[in-house]
């Protein structure tokens, strides 16, 4: 099993969700996060007041999937989240040791 964690532009969330849904991936956790990548932040002046915009709003999507689905899922995710501009985000993939469904103690991929 793999855990896929994607940091994407907020406005791409619906598109990404739809793309994943069309692959049959329904289970995911979504959080509102703030951060920056290589482009770092910048200072903005508004009405003479300086604001540091070093943490930009992003959306984090996390899901655990079977190894076999990794390729199609990451491809769909990246395809839906891409604008081609700086700030499109990143996808991270981790190995998952175990999954347990709390309700009935299902283990492994059946728990997904």
């Amino acid at each position: 099993m793999k855990k896929v964690e994607a940091i994407i532009q907020p406005f791409k969330m619906e598109e990404v969700k739809e793309a994943l849904k069309s692959l049959g991936v329904d289970g995911m956790t979504i959080s509102e996060v703030r951060g920056h990548g290589r482009q770092k932040g910048h200072k903005e002046v508004y009405r003479g007041q300086e604001y540091t915009v070093d943490l930009l709003p992003k959306v984090k999507i996390e899901m655990v999937i079977s190894d076999a689905r990794l390729d199609e899922v990451t491809r769909a995710l990246a395809g839906a989240a891409r604008t081609g501009k700086i700030g499109d985000g990143k996808i991270f993939v981790y190995d998952v040791a175990e999954a347990i469904r709390i309700r009935n103690d299902d283990r492994g991929e059946t728990a997904l």
Partner: protein, 811 residues
């Protein structure tokens, strides 16, 4: 798990009061069990040394199916021998085995005559103590000491009780209008019935409202809690959506009934709390009296509540009631109970009065007051709000099934308006940017009217934005709002979800997206109002809904569109082919003005400007000055020439006038249209009407170069020098516009500031294409679009200009 069940409406058709018998029977059964176990186990082990009491709800004979059975054992000393402890354990075991969920405490008589600050529930539970069995001597002591204890410690007990009430209300954000309320703990729930009961025991309360209504509400809540316990098989008091559906075929209508009852209870609780608060003679009460010492010929304020000064008159005077709401909104106090009652009785007369003639001037004034939300709450509670806005009835207590919303529609609406008042007071640096928008706008009354009506169309089955616009449109017309005001309010209602959707689902870095949004929104003023509306609307969904993340997103959306408005000014010009429907002369006048010009001016203003333009002499200018509220409006149309802006600004400064807003636009034929809003802090123009003509003359001569503005200004006495609170900043932006260099200046607003800046720009032989001037409190916020021989500035010139402007701001 909710089981399908008979609906509560069926039960309502039967005798509601049967519930009291059921609760009492249950209490009697539990009492019999407890007494039996006591006689079997404890009486032999503690001969004449223990008394058994039912306390809390059990003491009141109100035992719900899965409520705890609260018992107290009064002992002459703490039982500590092994035999005594074993007997107590056996007593509890027998009751548990008998399936009674008991909660037992063992106390000495001395415990019962002191306040337990950390366990006030114990003190309170004693108010309902009922002797069941055991040592008569102990009970005699208890009965003798309790009234004395209440007499001495009653006020203290009440004070602690009120603290607990405030904590409980805070958990529910001080409102009864939760979509999924807790029928026991929510404000307006059963705990509030107990509160009234306890406070009445501590001190008689004169007026709790209609006793029959209160009793009906009590029975409704008791029935409801009983059903919730039966349905869920446990002590569950949460009236969630599932439960609402199980209890009624028409949950939305039925929830309105729930809120009606909860409101009766909540009002009684409020009156009991106010009576208890009023009885304290301590420092706090004196402070509050002092703070609220305020009186007019019609009203006075006592203990932070407004009262009518005159005695009750036989004829209801609706106009006086309207003044009462204005008084509440201005000074920020709630109505006293007596004032509320008088308003309630006058509601039909108020409705008649409002219907008899357009009341827009009153509404506009009211909606501009600092504490509008208090006035609206008072109008809502007394029913007077519906006299002004009959649409309000549609959303009163209206439940919408929505994953995010936590309040009924009316409550959500009132919270949006409170949110903006809270923003005005909030010092949180993260919110400062939004607070600045609030301070900058003079459209607050219209924004608040839009908020009041933005969800009026909910529950109609169609797109609620459209339905709300339709309802608001006819209401504003009936009230007599002007066409322009109506247009602003309806725009805000129609577009109230625009920024939410922009900030979450659109790419703000895409110029096409922000461009399209700017086109839809129209003007920067609309954008500011819409941003504030979105801020309030999201915040009022549930506490904490406007997370820092969402706040940042909303701000980014605002900035992206605002930048679009600034950027477009010099590049987006009116083209003749857009002007087919205009006369050739008018088209000639409009040709090349910024597109924004058509959006920010009404047709009447455009016509007035055109007539001024037609009258422009070859040398000199067409000038018009008019009065609008507290400010003056100056419009100057003339041929472009060097130092033009400096001349006008200098002439105004030489009269001690203070420029608060200005737009400077040019058309393609070298005609310049300058509009200024200025104030007259020294009241020169007010006191000497002839000065207005002299001002016109000076402006004209300054423009024509017949007088030297600098000399005029030298003749003026220097104003009192105020230490600058704003560090001046000059930001030169060569990227924002395709055709001009944008210079953003922020500085402490001061007399002659614009004159100095305009002079500095002209002295470098630069051309001012467009100027937007704004003032926020004492801060001047100016944007100049500047070119040199038709091009953007090079870096060296930009640097020199920046230095000169900084110097101009620092004088």
């Amino acid at each position: 798990m909710i089981e399908p069940s008979r609906t509560l409406s069926d039960a309502a058709a039967e005798n509601q009061s049967a519930i009291l018998q059921a609760l009492e029977d249950r209490a009697a059964g539990a009492a019999a069990q407890a007494v039996r176990a006591f006689e079997n186990v404890l009486a032999p082990a503690f001969p004449d040394r223990l008394a058994l009491y039912a306390v809390g709800g059990f003491g009141r004979r109100e035992l719900f199916p899965h409520s705890d059975v609260d018992l107290m054992l009064l002992a002459d000393r703490i039982p500590d021998s092994p035999d005594e402890k074993a007997a107590l354990s056996e007593f509890q075991r027998q009751l548990w085995d008998g399936r009674l969920r008991i909660s037992l405490s063992v106390r000495l008589p001395a415990d019962c005559k002191m306040i337990h600050e950390g366990n006030l529930e114990f003190n309170i539970s004693l108010l309902d103590a009922r002797f069941l069995a055991g040592a008569a001597g102990l009970d005699k002591t208890f009965r003798a000491q309790t009234p004395r204890f209440l007499q001495i410690s009653g006020p203290d007990l009440a004070r602690h009780l009120l603290r607990l009430v405030r904590q409980r209300y805070a958990k529910f954000h001080d409102t009864i209008y939760h979509l999924e309320p807790d029928v026991k703990e929510s404000p307006g729930g059963i705990r509030d019935i107990h509160l009234v009961h306890w406070l009445s025991q501590l001190r008689p309360i004169e007026d709790l409202g209609d006793a029959a209504l209160l009793e009906a509400a009590r029975l409704f809540m008791f029935n409801l809690r009983n059903r919730l316990h039966e349905m869920s098989g446990r002590d569950n008091n949460l009236l969630n959506f599932d439960a609402q559906e199980a209890l009624s075929d028409n949950p939305e209508a039925w929830m309105r009934e729930y809120f009606r009852h909860a409101r009766v209870i909540s009002r009684a609780a409020t009156r009991a709390v106010e009576a208890a608060e009023g009885s304290g003679g301590g420092l706090l009460a004196s402070f509050r009296d002092w703070r609220s010492r305020l009186a007019t010929s019609e009203f006075n304020v006592t203990r932070e509540r407004i009262l009518f000064r005159s005695a009750q008159s036989a004829v209801p005077d609706p106009a006086l009631k309207l003044k009462l709401f204005e008084f509440a909104g201005r000074h920020g106090f709630k109505l006293s109970r007596s004032a509320e009652l008088r308003v309630e009785r006058a509601v039909p007369a108020i409705a008649e009065l409002v219907a008899s003639k357009p009341h827009w001037p009153y509404v506009r004034e009211l909606f501009g007051l600092p504490n509008l939300s208090l006035a609206l709450r008072a109008m809502h509670e007394t029913g007077a709000l519906k006299a002004f806005f009959p649409e309000w009835e549609r959303i009163e207590c209206l439940v919408t099934r929505d994953f995010y919303h936590r309040y009924t529609v009316d409550e959500h609406t009132l919270v949006t308006i409170e949110t903006l008042e809270e923003l005005a007071r909030n010092k949180d640096p993260q919110r400062e940017r939004f607070r600045a928008l609030l301070e900058e706008t003079d459209g607050l009354p219209l924004l608040r009217v839009a908020l009041l009506l933005h969800d009026a169309g909910k529950g109609s089955g169609e797109d609620h934005s459209i339905a709300s616009v339709r309802l608001a449109s006819s209401r504003l017309k009936a009230l007599g709002a002007s066409e322009q005001e109506r247009a602003t309010v309806l725009f805000l209602i129609q577009r109230h979800l625009e920024l939410s959707s922009l900030m979450t689902s659109r790419d703000l870095s895409d110029p096409a997206v922000t461009r399209a949004a700017a086109d839809r929104i129209g003007t920067i003023e609309h954008l500011k109002l819409l941003t504030l509306l979105t801020y309030a609307d999201i915040s009022a969904v549930f506490p904490g809904a406007l997370t820092p993340w969402r706040m940042e997103q909303l701000w980014r959306a605002y900035r992206a569109v605002a930048d679009e408005f600034t950027r477009e000014l010099d590049s987006d010009r009116i083209r003749t082919e857009q002007l087919n429907e205009r006369t050739p002369a008018m088209a000639n006048f409009l040709d090349g003005l910024p597109t924004r010009y058509l959006r920010i001016h009404t047709e009447d203003e455009i016509q007035a400007h055109f007539h001024l333009a037609e009258a422009v002499p070859i040398i000199g200018a067409s000038i018009q000055i008019s009065r609008g509220g507290a400010a003056f409006h100056l419009c100057v149309v003339t041929q472009d020439r060097p130092y033009l802006l400096a001349a006008i600004a200098g002439a105004l400064a030489s009269f001690g006038l203070n420029i608060v807003k200005a737009d400077v636009f040019g058309n393609r034929h070298g005609l310049i249209l300058d509009t200024f809003v200025f104030t007259d802090p020294l009241h020169n123009l007010d006191l000497n009407p002839s000065e207005l003509d002299r001002l016109k003359g000076v402006i004209e001569r300054a423009i024509s170069g017949k007088i030297d503005v600098q000399k005029l200004l030298q003749g003026r006495p220097a104003g009192r020098k105020r230490p600058s609170r704003v560090e001046p900043t000059v930001l030169v932006d060569n990227a924002a516009s395709e055709t001009a260099t944008l210079v953003h200046v922020t500085a402490e607003d001061a007399p002659g500031l614009l004159y100095r800046m305009a002079s500095a720009i002209s002295s470098l032989e630069l051309n001012i294409e467009v100027v937007l001037l704004d003032t926020e409190a004492h801060r001047a916020l100016d944007v100049f679009h500047i070119t040199r021989t038709g091009h953007k500035l090079d870096d060296a010139t930009a640097g020199t200009l920046r230095d000169m402007l900084l110097e101009a701001c620092s004088v």
